[in-house]
Symmetry: C3
Subunit: 283 residues, 3 copies
């Protein structure tokens, strides 16, 4: 019990530092991302206190990433041209000690996605892999039930404990933090684990909440490269908390309003409100 | 008169089945579309009960379309890279019996657009062609007054009857349903015709309503491949009805609010409200 | 003093003509722009009374620009494929007397951006260059403090007078109007200068206001190719005025609402309200 209270205080204190570091650094984030949700990703990074740069030409990614505080790689609409740029930017980021966030959208769904994520992971050391459980489980090479970019029906049955075990394995293999977003989000560095249970089921009816989490991580890790684990908790938690507040403000399935409310809230939420709404378990 | 009443009941009953089929299937829709309106298209598909996938790399479109319920091809920002992907995805869709929706944005405007649509139509059997009257008339190869991606001034003079005759011809040539969106929308399979007269003139002041109709069709046909005609009526009608309700809620030219209202309404409208607002003529 | 009053009347009268010309022409604008803010750019052009076309394939830009009233080139997410298209479209625009607006996003930041803008400027005669002070100063080849796509910290110290001197030099070198957007916007044709001081600091927390200014210029110059200077003043002023009204309507950092409010206001503002809110100095 005492241990629990200690951990809660530790979490709150660490998250406060994470938040303050974002404010101090206004991190410049290099994003190589998909064209579906790119505008929302840029806006949420600004709302969260960062400064986004989207650039994907192989002719400039080296220079771009070199001046940034973090790199977000999202393979949502990957193509032959952008693959190269992702790997090159990732390699430069590694050589400069810049955190790399990988969102392996649709891992396991097509040979292209699986192959390219595997190639990225073989060449680039990532700080965080953020995905849904089907994507993360796919990284164990034991998953063969993926049909699209959403979670498969069998994977939907997994318990938090199952998810933690899978995430822990992936974390050990790639020596990185793993964040599985789900009804309960599971974030682990292979030792510690935080479970977050904010959000709303209605969020799955708008596009881009997953991409926006990766975008938030770009900002929080850009300002906190010495605390990747808590930076990840703060970024993932921000989407859950703001999504929940935004959804609760709706009268019905007003999905455009939901998206607008989320962006509004990320820009205006105070730390105390964030901590009050945050539902977590830290072990 | 009796015939009319019968048709109205038939329409209502068929549309109800169309709606229910969407709900049962939550259709996965593969979109190869333009980068201008892609976010709105993804969001409206989610709001309408579908699940969008945007993927345009030639290296994965075969796998992607194979697990989907429909394919939407929109040539709005076509380029050398995406042309190939559209044709390949279309051919696979045909081989699997997956409906293909074609939005020939700017057909007749440039050689690239005309040539590529002609190539798609020569290689891929489409289920529905959805366009404005200039685009659809262009497909008859009799049109030489196209200047941009909007309807030409002479075409704006055409009556509903003229439009139906043109649409019928195109429908026969390509053995598909043709939907002409206009002040009065005309939808025909070459035999039957439905005229829909919802919407608002203010909708032409926001970008993407045309693209979003094609996106809606991806969902409605994805769940109704055995009833392409009524699936098309439901998808086109959804934009007109929700656009009209959204526009009526405005006090002035609040165009961003209009777009948000449309997306909100597609996600929240009930079938009874839809049928009450729908203005149609079925012959 | 009398001279001042005269200038004020002149400005108001000229802006009224600019506005009326937009209304008469409903200018078709060809945009080769970035994929981050493209939807907002299209929507703001519609709200401002224009008609946007986004097309970037080398296979069609010649035909597209030929029927348009203006060309907007924004290098925000330039790549190997789009560079060529920008230059070709610009050359055709020149041969037809169509105004070209250049937004050199991130000039001086990467070799790619600097090199390509230099190439565009060597091959294409532009009507307006619109940028932040770091970008514009970079064009003098005296700037070596650029780190990203935002204004550098030393450049933030420059006075309006400094900015005018820099803009004037660039204007003379490239024989074009130069618009520097900043807390105070500076617009000069090398002789005349207008300072505009609308807007709100909160606007820098949403993405795309810069891109949207270039988009507005596409519309205002498309309808006013014989008055590039005043067309530029009107377009830049529109963002400042609507941004200010939109920001004042907020209770807190509701950033998504801010963007929606701006778009709503551009579509609904009357000329008298515009002139009342506009804060300017004309020399």
């Amino acid at each position: 019990m005492e241990r629990k209270v200690e951990l809660k205080n530790e979490l709150k204190n660490e998250l406060r530092v994470v938040k303050e570091n974002i404010g101090k650094n206004k991190p410049l984030v290099h994003n190589i991302t998909n064209y579906v949700t790119v505008n929302d990703c840029a806006n949420i990074q600004l709302a969260f206190g960062g400064s986004p740069i989207m650039a994907d030409s192989i002719l400039e990614v080296e220079e771009v990433v070199s001046v940034c505080s973090s790199l977000v790689i999202n393979i949502g609409t990957i193509n032959e041209r952008t693959i190269e740029s992702m790997i090159k930017a990732g390699e430069i980021a590694n050589s400069k000690g810049i955190p790399v966030i990988l969102d392996p959208v649709g891992y396991g769904f097509t040979k292209l996605r699986t192959g390219e994520v595997d190639e990225i992971l073989s060449k680039v050391k990532v700080s965080v892999i953020k995905g849904n459980i089907s994507e993360i489980k796919g990284l164990l090479k034991e998953n063969n039930d993926i049909n699209g970019v959403d979670v498969s029906s069998t994977d939907r049955e997994l318990t938090e404990k199952d998810i933690f075990e899978i995430a822990k394995k992936v974390s050990k293999i790639h020596a990185c933090v793993v964040a599985v977003t789900s009804k309960v989000d599971v974030i682990t560095d292979g030792e510690r684990v935080v479970y977050l249970s904010n959000g709303s089921h209605i969020m799955s009816n708008i596009t881009g909440t997953g991409c926006m989490i990766a975008a938030l991580l770009g900002v929080s890790l850009g300002g906190n490269k010495d605390n990747i684990f808590m930076g990840t908790v703060y970024g993932v938690g921000m989407m859950g908390v703001c999504g929940e507040i935004a959804a609760n403000a709706l009268l019905k399935m007003e999905l455009s309003t939901l998206k607008n409310n989320i962006l509004d809230k990320v820009g205006s939420i105070k730390f105390e409100e964030f901590m009050e709404v945050l539902k977590y378990e830290y072990n």
